[in-house]
Symmetry: C2
Subunit: 543 residues, 2 copies
């Protein structure tokens, strides 16, 4: 199938009716398609691959909808998958060295911090400065990072001078804070494994585990990372006996917990809860969720800046070993009415290990990605890398520029020129993805942005994926069959210690790739966001 087909849901169509999917002569295909979709929907429902419709939540029930999902794995070249996995360690090394060099970091972030004192970046930097002034009591930090890549196709001259196409792996962005999608990615991976097992059996092939679909164990990997941080805390501050009898529980030391900081009215609990459940069940580490705005009610600093948390269900406090952020990145979370900056400051200045600390958050802003791509910068932070790794990292960077540098009359003329901007994507200088403006939409958008706000944006050369692969995507709004493009996110963990006393340096204890997410969208849609209805969780079929 090469013509993309977007099938909307006709209102009032009874379940199992497939005739809306096409003409009669496509009936057999459509019956098979309807069957596949029914299999996918049931798998999602029985494995919690769901989003809450929080606006419609009632005391007794929560309506749900399936997460956007690709009904079948999408082809992706094995060597690019392996290349992305191998890049995670040097890529994280680079970011860890960058975040530890606060002088350099401020040289990158400073202009925006100074010109936007009420922005998230400035608020975070101020919290960082308050923490430094208070004096750090915890040198260890841990991080769960995700580096996103797409394939980029360019014309290049072959050795014989004829025009050839060259495909390379290019980094879309580096996510360092509150990375989502790991749990959904694992469920979708397991679903594609299950569907493949069935298809192979139908083809008469014994369904042994197939290496064409890489195994995804994101959830337990994240659980193990947080457990490692928890044990590190215990090794720093003394082990609490795991065996407390009924008799000595009143005098026993506090138990410790991982505190997962979450957003209220969260529709995506299914991407967080499995981590909490795994900590309790699989590694015997207590874990509690606390909504951002409730932290002042339930958490406080004790002696030695130990962070304590009292669960709603308990009369006894836990000492927090690890703060795991799944909130704290929206400007509104730092609003004065909820004293958001004080919330973050209390967490950051405590002796709990943060996942990640505030510098790990700040290094995820787009302007850092841009600055790292400048000449000589990777080399500056390449202490732990060999020459091949430096080259490999740099090879994945797309050109990226500060829009602020164009905030002149001359520059404006270029920026508003369609023929120039058609090759770029405009990215707000925030942490995390989304909110991008693409290609020929950019000039019209910039018309409404005052020149003195241009420093809030970077523009990155557009990645142009090969248009060879088709897929079947199931979103809340439609069933799509047609050309697709995919984005591979490599998940990694790291644990490091900043040397606060002496010169700014970092010692890295753990640094490795742990898993992946894979998202696919219709080729004719720009944005990959899953929660905004375009991208779909998927699994790479390695070819």
């Amino acid at each position: 199938m090469t013509t993309p087909q977007h099938y909307g849901p006709p209102p009032g169509v009874p379940p199992s009716t497939v005739s809306q999917l096409g003409e009669d002569d496509e009936l057999e295909d459509n019956v098979a398609l309807a069957h596949l979709i029914s299999e996918v929907k049931d798998y999602q429902l029985t494995h919690g691959n769901l989003l809450k419709l929080v606006r419609f939540e009632e005391p007794t029930r929560v309506p749900t909808t399936g997460v956007n999902i690709s009904c079948q794995p999408t082809k992706f070249p094995t060597h690019f998958f392996d290349q992305a996995m191998a890049l995670q360690q040097p890529m994280q090394e680079l970011y860890l060295r960058a975040l530890s060099d606060t002088t350099w970091l401020y040289s990158v972030l400073g202009p925006q911090i100074e010109s936007e004192p009420d922005g998230v970046m400035a608020k975070l930097w101020n919290i960082h400065m308050r923490c430094e002034a208070a004096g750090p009591v915890q040198e260890f930090s841990c991080g769960l990072f995700r580096s996103d890549y797409m394939l980029n196709e360019t014309a290049s001259s072959g050795s014989l001078g004829d025009a050839q196409k060259e495909v390379t792996l290019k980094q879309v962005e580096m996510n360092t804070f509150s990375c989502a999608g790991a749990c959904h990615g694992e469920i979708v991976g397991n679903m594609h494994q299950a569907l493949l097992r069935r298809r192979l059996a139908e083809d008469g092939i014994d369904p042994t585990p197939q290496s064409v679909l890489p195994t995804n164990t994101n959830t337990s990997d994240i659980v193990n990372c947080l457990a490692m941080a928890h044990r590190t805390y215990e090794s720093q501050f003394g082990l609490v006996s795991a065996h407390i009898t009924m008799d000595d529980r009143r005098t026993a030391p506090q138990r410790r917990c991982v505190l997962m900081i979450v957003q209220p009215y969260n529709f995506n609990v299914a991407d967080e809860r499995p981590i909490e459940y795994g900590l309790w069940k699989d590694v015997n580490v207590p874990c509690y969720r606390c909504e951002w705005q409730d932290i002042p009610k339930h958490a406080f600093l004790g002696g030695d800046r130990a962070l304590f948390y009292r669960p709603l269900s308990s009369k006894k406090e836990y000492e927090v070993s690890v703060v795991y952020y799944r909130a704290g990145y929206d400007l509104r979370e730092y609003a004065d009415d909820i004293e958001g900056s004080d919330i973050r400051y209390m967490l950051e200045t405590s002796r709990a290990i943060k996942c990640p600390d505030i510098l790990g958050h700040l290094v995820g802003f787009k302007s850092v990605q841009r600055a790292l791509a400048e000449a000589g910068v990777v080399e500056r932070f390449s202490t732990g890398l060999d020459g091949a790794q430096v080259a490999a990292v740099k090879d994945t960077f797309m050109s990226m520029y500060a829009l602020g540098d164009m905030a002149t009359d001359e520059g404006k003329e270029v920026a508003l020129d369609h023929s120039f901007m058609k090759d770029y994507v405009l990215k707000p200088n925030l942490e995390g993805g989304g909110n991008n403006i693409f290609s020929t939409d950019i000039p019209a958008f910039l018309e409404h942005i005052p020149l003195n706000d241009w420093h809030r944006y970077n523009y990155q050369r557009l990645i142009t994926p090969p248009a060879e692969t088709t897929g079947i995507l199931l979103t809340t709004n439609e069933i799509y069959q047609g050309p697709v493009v995919s984005e591979l996110g490599i998940l990694g963990l790291a644990m490091w210690r900043r040397d606060h006393a002496g010169k700014e340096d970092v010692k890295i204890f753990e640094n490795k790739a742990i898993g992946f997410t894979f998202k696919t969208k219709p080729t004719d849609v720009d944005e990959m966001s899953v929660v905004k209805g375009y991208g779909c969780f998927d699994t790479p079929m390695l070819v």
Copy 2:
């Protein structure tokens, strides 16, 4: 808390709002309750403890609601739990002997078969007779049974002559066909384990697995039972090589599958799909679902009456090793327009192993339960039981009578007398539970039933559970806090061979308890049905 409180969902209340749950002075309790309910809802959502709202299904999404659930385990005496588990083997022995004695079985079912030739029972018996005439080609059968019990409290004279209360375990009914609830029961068991682990940790007790909540592994137990039947079939008809290369797949023998027969528009897929997934993934046995009315399109009998099934997703047939019924019990499934009797006949007359066969279905009708309680009947079928087992089985029977025996002028006068019927429950002579009429509702109900239809009912002495325990129940419609009563269902598997050639006898190969379901309802509600909105899946807290 002793006053039952039913909290309905006020329309339009935003999530996390708890003030609707009571007065201000109950706020702390209510915050804790709202928190508990939020934990329960998220656990259900992330573990597929859900029902599909099939009427609102659209091509791209399926709305869901949580299964009715008890928010905390409910106390149940350990010795009664152990007693019920120990009863499963003799109870199944009794039913297996009874279903094999078709002369006796017809003596019990015959009156209704003859007076209601269009009823399900008559249709099933006719299919059985057609199968006997065709000559059986499969002597093995397997079964997944569930025996339901409640505690019954009666006044009895103590040894010193003072009035005392006596509590005993009484059988509500025996389910032999298409038993549901196993998968939901396991999820709820795991949820209560998770909540208990947390509570114990908060009390400073090391969260080792607690024996107070019995472990529930229903799903894998059922998977293993069906896999055992599948292997039995392979041992009868030759093993299909599990290792087929790409080269010989065209000439390789057919693969075999378990065929799960299901109802269309099924809202309860979450209680079936895990069994299918487990067969594929955990024991490498292909399993397909086929909706009842689609069987003629996808299944057919081949040579030697082997049953073949062609999955929608395949061009190649599977030979069916085991027919696992999760449909085929509703009268409308035997309607002429879908040729339901021919569907069932094809399945039954095939050489696939049925779970269970049609006699295993027929023995589940209420009139069999009544007849087994008559004097001397347990002894008649006690070949494999010792005296203590015979006594133990009989001790759990509540008195049960045929309403047809009261279909006289004299009898009618008694039946319509409130003071007589207040101690009984009227049960339609069907297989499975539900549709019961309770106590003082019976006379008004019987006024509208012609005397010659009275044979369709039995009346059983009401079980009166001790009213000591309170609970917190979350149903689609309300949050209930107050007195509750529970029903314990023991799941068992059996595998047996009828000797068709000689005298009617049965050889039992496997017969054991495998797991349990536990349901709890408000004391002031009669019916325990979960799907009708009263009963809630629960876990016994053994005391």
